[in-house]
């Protein structure tokens, strides 16, 4: 399993991101721009909340009947002369694809953007074959490849962490001598890639949706490179996660519409193609067509609290609204699936040992849940992960277990709470400062700059209000207030 992008501990990655001001600025800028575009695109569609209901229903329905739809899809692919391979693990998927490449004596491979192939680390495996070249043809993936296989930091915008000067430098190595203008650079890349397309003998793509009732593959891209990847090489391999299926074209149309508005804030991405093996009478398209359907940990979610994660259509909207992603960026998560969806999905696919930190790295602000086009309750699933780790696995997650359990006891006991209220002011005396503060009306009873134990994380960053004397607290005030009211009433 290679969804992991870093061996460093989580905190180290967070600190590295904090110092990467360029990355933070570019993520913030992209988030802000996408916020406006996405909102406008959804508003233009109208009745967005009803669309979400529909999207959720379609995806839930598919996941519920997943084995049936997979069977139907695979029958239809085979009926048209294609081949379907079910891969339980990444290794099985990679071996199958290598086998095809060898059989077909394929040496010039072109790929279009696919997170699943990144997940199984396909590129490197294929490049290990003798005399084989491989070219990523999606502009962003191409840049990552040419930049010494840098890791993607976003599922829709893989190079979000790079600026145009950095990209220009990458291209200079390929003989580019133009400016850092994005258009000019894109033109160069297209020209550079065209040559590879013309000679390609194996095309590999991902899949946005597989259409069960006709065996077609629906790809949504905004560059058109996926179409060329599918049209030119005679051998075609589609790699898809096993959940990426829809009953018919009708549902694909609904989801494509929601996907492109959510992913890039556009009405429809420029190209939307349905392909399958070449049927007699057609002049282009592959003669040899394979679909690799990958489990690789996805079935861990089936029948559990985490099943909704399989509804995901990889639009990336949750990354684009996430305040954590805004600051720690894709590399901070250490998974090729970053952001809220990554924090939920990565532990499902690859366990808590590696990704147990991610579900805790959330303020549970629910911006992800609010934006998800297929209504995955992302922030609730983060809490569910925490529950599995604390309640079931009893993992140590730098919470002080005794203190947290104590908090559970204290907050369920009116008597203990009363004692806490009575003693809080005195108890906090040794910690309190009488120093002036720049803030009015928050520290009416003093403040604390350095607290011990659990609260030290708080005072590392900000001052803490000191509790009032018991006689000044809300409950005491209320008692007096009521008494005065009653006395007032008896005087009337």
């Amino acid at each position: 399993m290679t969804i992991s992008t870093s061996d460093k501990p989580f905190l180290t990655r967070v600190k590295e991101s904090e110092n990467d001001h360029f990355m933070q600025q570019s993520v913030a800028k992209a988030q802000d721009a996408q916020w406006d575009k996405r909102t406008a695109a959804r508003e233009e569609l109208g009745n967005w909340e009803q669309w979400r209901d529909l999207g959720e229903q379609i995806r839930q329905h598919v996941i519920k009947y997943l084995p049936d739809y997979l069977e139907q899809f695979s029958d239809n692919v085979e009926k048209k002369g294609g081949h379907v391979f079910f891969a339980q693990t990444d290794e099985q998927a990679v071996n199958y694809i290598k086998k095809i490449a060898k059989e077909k004596k394929a040496h010039r491979i072109v790929k279009s953007k696919s997170m699943v192939t990144t997940e199984i680390n396909l590129d490197k495996a294929l490049l290990s074959l003798p005399e084989t070249s491989l070219m990523e043809t999606d502009l962003a993936e191409f840049i990552l490849q040419e930049d010494n296989w840098d890791e993607p930091t976003h599922i829709v915008f893989p190079t979000l962490h790079k600026n145009r000067d950095q990209i220009q430098k990458v291209f200079n190595k390929l003989g580019y001598s133009g400016s850092n203008d994005p258009e000019e650079m894109a033109k160069f890349a297209r020209k550079y890639l065209r040559e590879y397309f013309m000679q390609a003998d194996l095309g590999i793509t991902g899949c946005n949706f597989a259409i069960a009732d006709n065996g077609m593959i629906n790809l949504v891209t905004n560059e058109g490179n996926a179409d060329l990847t599918m049209a030119i090489p005679k051998t075609q391999i589609v790699v898809m996660g096993m959940e990426r299926i829809v009953p018919s074209l009708k549902e694909a149309e609904v989801l494509d519409n929601m996907l492109s508005r959510s992913a890039v804030g556009q009405k429809l991405t420029s190209y939307c193609s349905f392909s399958g093996p070449q049927v007699s009478g057609e002049s282009d398209g592959p003669t040899d067509f394979h679909v690799v359907i990958l489990d690789n940990g996805r079935s861990n979610a089936l029948g559990t609290d985490f099943e909704p994660v399989l509804q995901c259509i990889r639009c990336g909207a949750c990354l684009n609204v996430c305040p954590i992603y805004r600051h720690i960026g894709g590399h901070g998560y250490g998974s090729i699936y970053p952001g809220p969806i990554g924090a939920v999905l990565s532990p499902v696919l690859d366990g808590y040992e590696k990704f147990g930190d991610l579900p805790f790295a959330s303020s549970l602000c629910a911006a992800c849940t609010e934006t998800c086009p297929v209504r995955i309750p992302l922030h609730q699933l983060l809490i569910k992960h925490r529950k599995v780790m604390m309640d079931k696995l009893k993992m140590d997650h730098s919470f002080n277990n005794v203190l947290m359990k104590g908090a559970g006891v204290a907050t369920s006991s009116p008597i203990l709470f009363k004692i806490a209220l009575e003693g809080a002011h005195m108890g906090s005396a040794p910690l309190s400062k009488s120093k002036e503060t720049s803030v009015d009306n928050l520290f009416n009873y003093g403040h604390i700059e350095k607290a011990p134990s659990l609260a030290s994380g708080w005072t590392d960053v900000r001052d803490l209000a000191r509790p009032p004397k018991h006689s000044d607290d809300f409950r005491s005030w209320y008692k007096k207030h009521k008494k005065e009211q009653q006395e007032g009433a008896s005087h009337d």
Binding site: S363, S412, G457
Partner: protein, 255 residues
Amino acid sequence: MKVAIFSTCVVDLLFPNVGQAMVEVLERLGCETSLPTNQVCCGQPTYNSGYHKESNKVFYNEIDALLSTDADYIVGPAGSCVAMLRQYPHILKDNPDYSKKAQELADKSYEFSQFVYNILGVVDAGAQLNAVATYHRSCHMTRLLGEKTAPFALLDNVKDLKMVPLPHLENCCGFGGTFSVKEPEISKQMVDEKVDSIISTGAQVLISADASCLMNIGGRFSRRNENIKIMHIAEVLNHNVDASRIRYKNQPTTV
């Protein structure tokens, strides 16, 4: 109308001014209040940290306490804590003893400004505050409780108060309950961006309907030695009130 005050542990422990302002506003608007003494906490700190077994007892205590009076409504000064009460029926749906009570509690629980605006139908609480202020929208109040209108509508009618919009209103302040103590490195960056946004508005006063967010943002202002005044929305609506100006929805303004 009888209202039980859901004081929240944060207000009980730290901010009597908030609880007091809320009670005074509600009573001025004709509510008869009571304060159920056995209430402690809504259970978010343990529940959201994954300690679900420990949390159940917290829920049971809170439900029994808040339902112990004959109040028509339960009103609290924190969108986040009220949103938690509203989640009880979902969390306890299979609990034979508490599922029904949880529903009853959720049905009559409201956040303070939501209650004033939507249930009491008040548009102008009669308050006056001569200041330039901005409003921090808490994530849980907005997204989990779904209340996006009430605080803005009420603040709009506070006399002499100039409200300036806060850029990036949608972004979390980095509080997130135990998140703020468990992940201080990330939380700091979030609250710093929030503080910067607030400073950029030029506001003298920061208002919110969640005491916890205010405690987080205000605490960071203090650490950075930046000036600001912190006010809970109940304190604003309780400021310099002229009761003759109180106005309800659908009530014609006197010219």
